[in-house]
Amino acid sequence: MIREELDRRLAEVEEKLIGIERTRDNRIYLLCDAENVYSICQFLFDELALRFVISSGVDAEHCFEVLHHFSADACGCVVTVKAFIRDRAAPEIESITPLIPGAEWIEREMHDILGIHFKNHPNLQRLILHDDWPQGVYPLRKEVQL
């Protein structure tokens, strides 16, 4: 898939997005609300056959951001779906693991270290924090100081 085609196809999901940012030639950020993340990822993964790379959870000032990074290997382009979770007290977002099994670990990890709940995740157990880690403490949140 060449770059022009990717841009054209991305326009198909435009109504679900808040905006599109292009920081460099081959870096595309799709900004959206938490509710739309599953359908956008489904479009990218199933329709455009992009490769899932990883997700990053970010503790931004007024919200949590979940970034699903995809890679369009044919044109070397990284497409990132940036979802905003505005409810800081009980952050929740749709899991994409039922769609992409490779996302299981990273969602468990974000659940561990940021306390984001993933709806419909098949196995949301503790993954990387040790067994005696206190409940309710999320090390990657900004209020936790080293």
Binding site: A49, H69, G102, A103, W105
Partner: protein, 405 residues
């Protein structure tokens, strides 16, 4: 994991001389067939992403090179590429070539290391000793260039810290010739050995659509016919200027992954040679004044697959978020697709074929319905080797002669 399993694992200690990270794999078996697999991480979780938020942009390469000892060139490279993307730095051309040389040397020694371990897993300990012997000169070269056998700490935002001295070129070229010759012998031994064909072919198949679903990268993906390679797709450093090709094999079994790694070693040797020849004159680092607010993604092809770094800056001198993804993080979960339904004699080998940074497989415990450990790493290794021996016999293979290697 239930307490009983834990206890027996602790009591006998799933430790082994070749042990590496502490991941704990729990396999459920039905008779001799694997029906489920579960992994517990955390033994090696050091909180690097949080630490990274407390360090300055220039200090972080030293931290990320300590994520994984074998990928200690590609992690910093991916990181600095992300930061350079934020800061829009123009990296001098010579630095790009130096980065390429270091990364390819790293790939050569990592792949040789894997060959040795794979030999160990199927009971050819002599191959293990020999492959590691041939790997040593590469480490010596890296030490001469960067000052350390591992953890090179050679890249920084805007370029490199150490140059490849011109007077070292003849030595590197000479060593490469020797390594190429030895690798050729190893490759021949692998590709021509009927026992290895029987032992490795059709084992632990990761089908192409599973490879896509589990989003695997590197030789694991290329062994399943997914020909992705960051060096080629989103070309960085000097890879775009070099003549090389992406190696891929469609079969998806352990043999295919071995072939991919061996052939890649030759490509790497070729690339280092060409990069040395084309090495342009000039400085190896550009000055970077400040990192503006913004976000960037950097990825690089480590020996095991794509290393991905996401960095966000708020204009200060520390990142506000730094996400790291090592290749094993997506390659290891693919065991769910490749191990289930396999005979337990093949499990260690299948896990090893992914090269999961490389011997997490030694945390394996096999449990039956009553949650009792029936196999540990040693007995699985045993089963794996027995199968090799049985196949040798069935094929009527001659004894492996030392001079064949």
């Amino acid at each position: 994991m239930s307490e009983t399993v834990r206890k027996s694992v602790l009591a006998v200690g799933p430790f082994h001389p070749l042990q590496e990270e502490m991941e704990f794999f729990q396999l459920t078996v039905d008779g001799e067939t694997v029906t489920d697999i579960n992994v517990r991480l955390s033994y090696n979780h050091r909180g690097i992403e949080k630490l990274s938020e407390t360090l300055q942009f220039d200090q972080i390469p030293f931290l990320v090179s300590r994520i994984c000892g074998i990928c200690s060139a590609s992690h910093p490279l991916a990181y600095v590429q992300a930061v350079e993307e934020i800061a829009q730095v123009e990296v001098p051309e010579r630095a790009l070539y130096v980065r390429t040389i270091i990364n390819e040397l790293e790939r050569i020694h990592s792949h040789l290391l894997w060959v040795g371990l794979a030999g160990h897993f199927i009971g050819y300990d002599t191959v293990f000793m020999w492959a590691w012997k041939y790997r040593e000169p590469v480490l010596d070269l890296l030490e001469e260039i960067t000052g350390n056998r591992n953890n090179y700490g050679n890249v920084k935002v805007g370029g490199c810290r150490e140059d490849v001295p011109d007077e070292l070129k003849p030595k590197i070229l000479a060593e490469l010739d020797v390594i190429e010759q030895k690798t050729e012998m190893l490759t021949k031994a692998v590709l021509d050995d009927p026992v290895l064909h029987a032992r490795l072919k059709g084992v632990g198949i990761l089908k192409k659509d599973d490879a896509v679903k589990f989003a695997v990268t590197g030789p694991t993906a290329r062994g399943s016919g997914v020909d992705i390679d960051v060096r080629h797709d989103d070309t960085y450093a000097a890879y775009g200027a070099l003549d090389w090709k992406v190696i891929s094999q469609p079969e998806g079994d352990v043999f295919a992954k071995a072939v991919v790694r061996l052939l890649e070693t030759f490509e790497s040797i070729k690339m280092v040679r060409e990069a040395l020849r084309k090495l342009p004159k000039g400085p190896v680092a550009a000055e970077v004044k400040e990192i503006p607010p913004g976000e960037g993604c950097g990825h690089a092809e480590a020996p095991r697959g794509e290393t991905f770094h996401y960095v966000r800056s708020d204009g200060g001198n520390r990142p506000v978020r730094h996400k790291v993804r090592a290749p094993s993080y997506v390659n290891v979960p693919s065991f769910k697709a490749s191990c289930i339904g396999e005979h337990i004699a093949d499990v260690t080998l299948t896990l090893a074929a992914v090269d999961p940074c490389y011997s997490c497989t030694e945390r394996v415990a096999v449990v039956d319905g009553r949650r009792q450990v029936v196999h540990n790493y040693a007995s699985l290794l045993q089963l794996s080797r027995e199968k090799t021996a049985r196949l040798r016999k069935e094929i009527g293979a001659p004894e492996m002669k030392l001079e064949d290697l």
